[in-house]
Amino acid sequence: MEPRLVTLKVNGRTHHAALAPNTTLLHALRDLGYTDVKSGCEKGDCGACTVLVNNTPLNACLMLAWLAEGQEIVTVAGLGNAEHPHPLQQAFVDFGAAQCGYCTPGMILAAKALLDEHPHPTDDEMREALSGNLCRCTGYVRIIEAIQNAANELDAEQRG
């Protein structure tokens, strides 16, 4: 099928891309250079491909790219960078919450969506929010610690 022109807004930047109808948002993003979005299971099970679309965490592997036209897409690189990390990113470093790192972008975005909704999540809420993100390395304990700490950090920031 003929490619069609699709406008994608990613981390505040606008891209015009000619995409075949079968292009998932996952591969459209990776082809645009957003390789912080990972391809794992390709079937909605692992969460490695998680992105925020209008602040909502979705599996980019199960979304056709043209359906994201005009929506605000955020990848983990959109939260912060090495010089100015987001408190979640910093906490993942400080608490050793990443080993191989493959799950990390998805984890951080799922955690971001949680903290946006529940700034003071309980342990159960954290575990539930991460139920769609698999990690084969860390055993999750440090991930939960990191999120708890980032929540405290964000809270302190807000209180100034």
């Binding site: 109808p21 199960l62 799922a110 929010a129």
Partner: protein
């Protein structure tokens, strides 16, 4: 032949994103079996990646605003648009279940089971993408929303370019992956009748992990009169070729004085009515055993909620 199991989408399809129900039914009339409707895509895209479905055209419902949203009807019932996501329905039900007791007669006051089914539904990401209409039309025996909707006597409306019919959900499921909807029909509405007073409901799902589909699930609704179960529904998932009601167990329950012993007996009766298979998720024997347990527990929970 394309290689299988690459988990990539084969290229040969085109898509439409109609803005109205009529436009969508026109496209369905034109392309028939060659086209597939896509709501959230969480079932369809997985099936296409596994090459179990190979439509030439995809008709997305994403831009048809008339198919979304939840409305309270004048007579007290609820109308749920099929593209309502599981997450949106969960949030709607959670906030209306928190209404004060003076609103007890609100149309959602006894929909706890549906709220629980939405809450148990897979992962946060999938909850945000999956729609209730897609859950029904995919016609999986494991569809989590089916047992509570069956237990509430839900009805569905199917529209084609030239026809429209509304039927009880009990008639909707035909076989695994097969509903009564013709290829040219669109599910346009899901209706729940007005809720009855003195009624409680509950849903229980047993799964390997919460993110997985159920090994067995059950939803019940009981209406109470004094110490009697004046009316009741019992529905189960993942225990037969389609989501099903245990009508003999329902009959045995209605009119009886409610007790733990009765709940236990009804659970066992329901377990006799199901036709489970063994598959990757559970054995037939496990499903048979656990069905009796969760029907009993759901009855006890729903009964508590009638007071």
């Amino acid at each position: 032949m394309l290689p299988t199991n690459t988990h990539l989408l084969y290229p040969e399809f085109d898509y439409f994103a109609p803005l109205t129900i009529y436009e969508a039914t026109e496209l369905l009339a034109q392309y028939g079996e060659d086209a597939r409707i896509m709501a959230g895509g969480t079932d369809l895209l997985v099936q296409m990646k596994m090459e179990r479905q190979q439509p030439s055209y995809i008709i997305s419902l994403a831009r048809i605003s008339a198919l979304g949203g939840i409305k309270r009807l004048e007579h007290g019932g609820l109308e749920i648009g099929p593209t309502t996501t599981i997450r949106a329905l969960y949030q709607y039900l959670t906030s209306s279940l928190q209404l004060p007791i003076s609103n007890f007669q609100s149309p959602t006051s006894n929909l706890q089971s549906l709220q629980e089914a939405c809450n148990w539904f897979s992962t946060i990401q999938i909850m945000h993408m999956a729609t209730i209409g897609g859950n029904l039309c995919n016609a999986s025996p494991a569809a989590d929303s089916a047992p509570p909707l069956l237990a509430f006597d839900a009805q569905v409306t199917l529209k084609s370019k030239t026809s429209e019919r509304t039927l009880p959900l009990t008639e909707f499921f035909i076989a695994p992956g097969k509903s009564i909807a013709r290829p040219d029909e669109l599910l346009t509405h899901i209706y729940l009748p007005a809720s009855l007073p003195d009624t409680g409901s509950a849903f229980i799902k047993i799964a390997r992990v919460t993110a997985d589909i159920s090994q067995v699930c059950a939803a019940v609704r009981i209406t109470r009169e004094g110490n009697c179960a004046q009316d009741a529904r019992i529905a189960l998932g993942s225990v037969a070729p389609t989501p099903m009601r245990a009508t003999v167990a329902e009959r045995d329950l209605i009119g009886q004085t409610f007790s733990l012993e009765l709940a236990e007996h009804i659970g066992k009766q329901a377990a006799q009515e199901i036709k489970p298979i063994s598959d990757v998720r559970a054995t037939r024997e496990y499903r048979q055993h656990i069905a009796a347990v969760i029907v009993r527990d759901a009855l006890l929970r729903a009964w508590e909620r009638t007071q």
